[in-house]
Amino acid sequence: MKARHKRFAIVLGGLAALGIAATLILNAFQSNLVFFFTPTQVANGEAPKDRAFRIGGLVKEGSLQRTDITARFIVTDTAKEIPVAYTGILPDLFSEGKGVVAQGALGADGKFTATEVLAKHDENYMPPEAKHAVDQAHEAAKTLKQ
């Protein structure tokens, strides 16, 4: 084995060892690396109970109610739901049927009091006309089913 083959082998071996180490570490910290918990995870008791955490999901259609500056809405992952109350200014992209991440604490009554609400944007970028066409297609599909 030439000296340079040995050096390349060391580099490759080192990278492989590092990769394995990184995988193990990331697996160990899995629960600390998630930015938010879904309502299903909260229902299964995976969310921390003694400290504030974030929940994420979709704002349920037709669930948004405003009284003064307090907004009440339901966060859903289509399986489970959590009612959320938030006092403050909602971000521009916040709307029903869209992604949302709320930070706060879960009360004993199962209601989540948020101290911060962030809108979660999806990866879809399209002009308004295309969005209109997509909506119409959805409507057509709905009427066909009925």
């Binding site: 050096r7 390349f8 580099v11 930015f35 994420g56 971000p91 944007h121 879809n124 970028y125 969005k131």
Partner: protein, 249 residues
């Protein structure tokens, strides 16, 4: 053994790479300007408004290509570092050092434009989610590489130390890329990827891809220009440098 078409090892010598880089960089600079002009024109005048974000989405024409570039340049640095350790070539370390400032610039641009977008869209300048945090670590890796190589006086030892930093840090690149898949993050998933059709309108995609090409060409041009300066600085006592026409004046 058959003779290869181009003897690549010839260009591993700084003396023969210096004039080659000098011939190449103006071409890449010209291409960068052309692609940037076309890309910016599409970005601002051709690409339609987004249905949800309005005009604010146009930050992606800088943000996404800058983020891609920051990850890719790091991989190239790691590649040169591995070559440098393996073949013990002087030029490899110089290439790594030439790429680092450009990579740091793109990592910073990616974080900065992301913050500008995040405030109106998410409602926060910064969140500690996996994607944002790992990209910040990438910026620190670039800065760490630059600081470490600058702190060691002997350039050959500086290159070796820098090579180890860049090889260890390369593990962060797949973490950045897949962070939005592996964990729940506030950052959205990829709109453009190898495995599925892009989830964006065609003209928006074209604008983004042209800007990405412009950034590629810019990075190559700047790296070649910078490596020429590094070669001159390190080889200043060599006779071939003294014999260069630009040194005769």
């Amino acid at each position: 053994m058959s003779q290869p078409l181009i003897n690549w090892f010839k260009f591993a010598s700084p003396a023969s790479f210096y004039p080659l880089a000098g011939k190449l960089w103006p071409w890449f600079a010209a291409l960068a300007t052309a692609f940037a002009a076309a890309g910016l024109w599409i970005s601002f005048f051709v690409a339609p408004t987004d249905f949800q974000q309005g005009e604010g989405y146009r930050i992606i024409f800088i943000h996404v290509p800058a983020s891609w570039m920051s990850m890719f340049i790091y991989c190239v640095m790691a590649f040169w570092s591995a070559i440098g350790i393996g073949f013990n070539t002087r030029l490899s370390g110089m290439m790594s050092s030439a790429l680092a400032p450009t990579g740091a610039l793109f990592a910073f641009l990616s974080l900065w434009t992301g913050a500008l977008w995040g405030k109106p869209m998410w409602g926060a300048w910064w969140v500690w989610d996996a994607r944002l945090t790992s990209e910040l670590i990438l910026l620190f890796l670039y800065l760490g590489y630059i600081a470490l190589t600058a702190a060691i006086d002997d350039p050959r030892r500086a290159d070796k130390a820098g090579a180890i930093v860049s090889l260890v840090g390369v593990i962060n690149v797949p973490i950045i890329y897949f962070s939005v898949k592996w964990w729940n993050t506030l950052h959205q998933g990829a709109s453009v990827s190898m495995t599925k059709a892009p989830t964006m309108a065609a003209t928006m995609l074209w604008g983004m891809l042209l800007m990405a090409l412009a950034f590629w060409m810019y990075s190559i041009a700047v790296a070649l220009y910078r490596v020429r300066a590094i070669i001159l600085e390190r080889e200043r006592h060599a006779t071939w440098v003294a014999e260069l026409p630009e040194m005769q004046r």
